[in-house]
């Protein structure tokens, strides 16, 4: 990585709405040119953070710089250099999708017509339909095309693929990879770990208005553990001695059923070992964000702060 100026720099951000503290001392750093995953469960403060970065909301305290500017006082100038896709796109009922794309792009300062046409085709969007006739997924596409057809250097995407079908999700991923190759910086918020995993160079995890973890994905290897629940003919022994195996639990000793978590790179070794005991059934699933939250930060939820459940990160 070259000597990069941070595209987004946030420190000690606080924002409350009445009695709820949406942001509680949030710190966030996004380097220029990277795709930064912004992960958190619903209501963690992702949208609030992005709206502060856009100058739509005013932080109670703390500092935020976006592309070297103050997002509240310098909002308009800043907006010429970024594009935003909200999580819940609302369109004007009497305007067509094409008109909405042009409107948003022109107000930002121009559009790349070639790219506009290309994106409309790839996302299979009908730009002649009126706003009220679009489904949620199609409204989302309108905002995505408007954002990506621009020459903005920073993309703020707030759960942009909510409502898109899996096929379009793939198109979206391709488009983001291209945007990154073109040198754009992307902040991609999501509550689905797998989506961010495919795209992000670095990830920040937000919970209750604070960043609880930030780093590259390999640094967060332990976050991508697969959970395996297995029933074997003979009791499986020696699993806990394997590298990368955590949280081994015996569910039903008589039936030979156990559950454990295994780091992404060590699944092969664990499954080989299991075959020695005769696998009767095997269920595996990647960790959901909510599970991660519960497993790694569940202790913070308890106000006593004493009931940690063996945070044995490798």
């Amino acid at each position: 990585m070259t000597k990069a100026i941070a595209a987004i720099e946030v420190s000690g951000l606080h924002k409350s709405f009445g009695k709820t503290h949406a942001l509680d001392g949030l710190d966030l750093a996004v380097e220029t040119g990277e795709v930064h995953g912004f992960l958190g469960p619903n209501g963690a403060g992702k949208s609030t953070t992005i709206r502060v970065l856009l100058g739509l909301l005013r932080a109670d305290s703390g500092a935020a710089r976006v592309l070297g500017r103050d997002p509240w006082t310098d909002a308009v100038e800043l907006h010429r250099h970024l594009a935003y896709v909200p999580g819940d796109v609302e369109l004007w009922p009497t305007l067509t999708g094409g008109e909405a794309i042009d409107l948003l792009s022109r107000l930002r300062g121009g559009i790349n017509k070639q790219r506009r046409a290309d994106l409309i085709e790839r996302f299979d969007l009908d730009p002649t339909k009126k706003g009220r006739a679009y489904s949620k997924g199609n409204r989302q596409k309108v905002a995505i095309v408007a954002a990506l057809a621009s020459d903005a250097e920073l993309l703020l995407l707030d759960e942009p693929t909510a409502g898109l079908d899996p096929l379009m999700e793939v198109v979206f991923q391709d488009v983001i990879v291209e945007a990154k190759a073109a040198g754009k910086t992307v902040l991609l918020s999501s509550h689905i770990l797998a989506q961010v995993e495919k795209l992000a160079d670095r990830v920040s995890i937000i919970r209750l208005g604070q960043i609880v973890q930030s780093g590259t994905l390999s640094e967060m290897r332990h976050l991508t553990r697969t959970t395996i629940e297995v029933e074997t003919e003979r009791p499986a022994a020696g699993l806990d001695a394997l590298p990368g195996v955590h949280d081994l639990q015996t569910i039903d000793a008589a039936a030979g059923r156990v559950r454990f978590a295994v780091d992404g790179g060590q699944v092969d070794g664990a499954v080989r070992k299991l075959t020695e005991f005769g696998i009767r059934s095997l269920i595996s699933h990647p960790p959901t964000l909510e599970e991660l939250m519960l497993r790694h930060y569940g202790d913070e939820l308890a106000a006593n702060g004493h009931s940690g459940n063996g945070n044995g990160a490798a």
């Binding site: 005013r58 609302e90 948003l104 107000l107 009908d126 339909k129």
Partner: protein
């Protein structure tokens, strides 16, 4: 699985092909949803009629007064605004009610009925609620049948209330049989328009479009009867259901058979609605959704061009409406002298306004009504940024290179410019037809000027709305107080004689009452300055606050 203990669930009492299954439940459900709305509609229409009848008794106590009204009404303009000439042969309070109120009330009852139908059919489909209901044991025709039933119930309740209320009001010339017919006239025409809406809701996939089409039919039938009643033979009136009920001549001839025409038309339209509904899918219209331009025109790329696009429909509708309203008032301006000089209360009010002739004083009074309607437009337009904000459509716009001040400013520019334009349209209509009916060409410019004089007061109204939007966004709707108050003080106050300070609270109270009064520039300038100050204050507030997001 042979369990003798549990009897098979009794089959629902639905024979195959029962397309009306569930209708009764839906009727109860619809009535429950409308438990506030419908009583308010019905009571408003009922009380409006009763108070009008009582007003007649007070305003036209002398037979001489009534003879004067006959003279005024016996002109093309008078007949176009009321009803057929036959009522004029014996102009007592009853025939007065039938002549002047029935056509106007038919439009309102039609509006109520159309809204009932669209609300319970197309609006339900548009929001996908109908889909959920239709997935249960509900027949294909149940929604429409239930909506029509509710419309019939509402119209019959209104008819009954009118019949009993009017018969019991103890007004000369308003008897029991006439009142029953008068009430049933309302029900008949209301049911016809409900059935018309049963067709239009099949045509388009959007409730607003369906209501719009049905309202266009109401407008057309009104125009047909107006044209027929002013002409010599009245044949055109026989093409209009409003014309039919007017030709039952309640309190005059008590002719019942035109009601049968209404019933037959309503039955035919409703049947057509049911048939058409089987030719389309749930949620879809008969007419395919119109496609639009895939790219934006150049004008759309500027904030002002975009705001104009959003306001276009409302602005054009208000300008056209106020032009017609002005033209209607203008057409009776020539007869104002004869009509009003013998009515003491109005005469007193006119004296207070001053002016060189009754026509000019009357024109000043009309201007107040015109201005209130223009103020309604202005508040709607000035509150548009608020509705865009709460709908979540402001957020993507304000994340572009568009500043908050320019965004709100573009809507305010349309509100202020549009408000002025709407006044101009009213002034033109009033001026053209007023000058024609009085034969005084000099009146044209006077009336246009009198209308435009209210523009600064409208700008203040915009300012009030912006201040609320900027500082107390959740209280934005309080901006509606301005036109409501202006109406109470400006219109009723002239007759009821409110104290001066009440008049001065309204921005419209400071406008010189042209053409009767003399022009004075100081209040105009002050109002403009106040408007500018309020707009600045509102923009400052909006610049400082959080955008409300979903």
């Amino acid at each position: 699985m042979t369990t003798a203990t549990k009897a098979p669930a009794p089959a629902a009492p639905v024979t195959s092909g029962n397309t009306l299954a569930g209708t009764r439940t839906l009727i109860r459900f619809n009535l429950r949803r409308d438990r506030v709305r419908l009583p308010v509609w019905i009571l408003a229409l009922f009380l409006g009629t009763i108070s009008t009848a009582n007003n007649y008794k007070q305003l036209y106590a002398d037979p001489e007064d009534r003879a004067n009204v006959v003279n005024t009404m016996d002109s093309p303009a008078g007949l176009a605004m009321s009803g057929p000439r036959h009522y004029l042969t014996d102009y007592n309070f009853g025939s007065m009610l039938g002549h002047q109120m029935l056509g106007f009330m038919a439009v309102l009852v039609g509006l109520m009925s159309v809204l009932i139908i669209t609300r319970h059919t197309r609006a339900e489909e548009e929001t996908n609620r109908a889909e959920l209901v239709r997935s249960t044991v509900v027949g294909r025709h149940a929604h429409l049948a239930a909506a029509l039933s509710v419309a019939v119930i509402a119209n019959l309740v209104l008819a009954l209330l009118l019949a009993v209320g009017l018969a019991g009001a103890g007004i000369d010339g308003i008897d029991g049989a006439g009142s029953l017919l008068y009430g049933l006239d309302h029900a008949a025409v209301g049911i016809v328009f409900a059935a018309v809406a049963a067709i239009t809701v099949q045509m388009t996939a959007h409730a607003r479009g369906a209501s719009g089409m049905a309202l266009a039919v109401i407008g057309l039938t009104y125009v047909l009867r107006a044209a027929g009643d002013t002409g010599s033979n009245g044949a055109l009136s026989w093409l209009s259901p409003i014309g039919w009920v007017q030709r039952t001549y309640p309190y005059v001839d008590n002719r019942w058979w035109p009601l049968l025409l209404c019933l037959a038309l309503a039955a035919a339209c409703a049947a057509a609605g049911f048939v058409l509904s089987t030719r389309r899918d749930v949620g879809a219209g008969l007419r395919a959704e119109k496609l639009g331009s895939p790219v934006a025109s150049d004008a759309l790329g500027t904030p002002l061009g975009f705001a104009l696009r959003l306001h276009r429909g409302t602005l054009v509708a208000f300008a056209a409406g106020l032009f017609l309203m002005g033209a209607m008032y203008g057409s009776i301006l020539g007869d104002a002298d004869d009509m009003l000089k013998d009515i003491d209360q109005i005469q007193e009010a006119l004296d207070r306004i001053g002016g060189s002739s009754i026509a000019e004083s009357f024109a000043s009074m009309v201007m107040v009504v015109i201005t209130v309607v223009a103020a309604v437009y202005v508040v709607m337009a000035a509150l548009r940024p608020r509705s865009e904000e709460t709908a979540g459509r402001a957020e993507p716009l304000l994340a572009t290179g568009l500043s908050r001040a320019r965004w709100v400013g573009s809507h305010l520019a349309v509100a202020m410019g549009g408000g002025t334009l709407v006044l101009l349209a009213a002034g033109l209509g009033f001026g053209i037809s007023g000058a024609a009916s009085t034969g005084d060409g000099g009146l044209f410019l006077k009336l246009v000027g009198a209308a435009l004089a209210y523009a600064p007061a409208l700008w203040v109204t915009v300012g009030v709305a912006v201040v609320l939007f900027g500082w107390f966004p959740r209280a934005s709707a309080f901006a509606w107080i301005v036109p409501v108050y202006a109406f109470l003080v400006g219109y009723l106050g002239q007759i009821l004689q409110f104290p001066d300070w009440m008049n001065n609270l309204s921005p419209f109270g400071h406008v010189p009452q042209l053409p009767a009064a003399d022009m004075s520039w100081t209040p105009m300038l002050l109002l403009t300055l106040v408007a500018a100050g309020l707009v600045w204050l509102g923009l400052e507030g909006f610049r400082r606050r959080d955008l409300e997001t979903k």
